[in-house]
Symmetry: C2
Subunit: 105 residues, 2 copies
């Protein structure tokens, strides 16, 4: 029953918006708020909530600064975030693989 071990799926990452954030940061390393907002077609409030959840889990770090007078918010994946995302991908990869086998079997 390993294939269906949904307990192995990290809920902090699994949420669709958070999954998009982590997938993007896993390759980009760092992104600014507006970039993520456009990419994920999220509202400002919604994106903020999900970023806070990732920050609470220490999967991302949020740096706030100013560019001239414009506030600049940059989000960076942490080492813990990379590790958690890697574990998540492995769990989903197993599920995809096992379920694909089931489909043909």
């Amino acid at each position: 029953m390993d294939a269906f071990d949904i307990g192995g799926i990290d809920d902090v990452i699994h949420g669709r918006i958070r999954l998009g954030i982590m997938a993007y940061l896993s390759s980009a390393e760092v992104a600014d708020f507006n970039e993520l907002k456009a990419l994920l077609q999220a509202t400002q409030g919604n994106l903020s909530v999900h970023l806070r959840k990732l920050e609470d889990a220490a999967y991302v770090e949020i740096e706030k600064s100013f560019l001239g007078r414009k506030p600049l918010t940059r989000i960076r994946i942490t080492a813990a975030g990379r590790k958690a995302f890697s574990t998540y991908l492995a769990a989903m990869g197993r599920l995809v693989e096992q379920a694909s086998k089931g489909e043909t079997g």
Copy 2:
């Protein structure tokens, strides 16, 4: 940005419990309520809610009968459910693949 097209992830399936149900049914075809309940370590109420959501989307059919005096609830994946799960797996597969590339790149 195809890799991060989270719009392609079917929310009806993506929920962790529902994902477990669909993954199991995709290979087992049919399961009874108590079997799923034990497998997913869900409460009766929680499992019922998620099954109803899958039934509303026509991804599963729920058959209620009696075995002697004991109520028996069987859940069967539909053709539409198979198709939706297959689409979901493809979307997740792409994400896993692209994100894995990003990790090593």
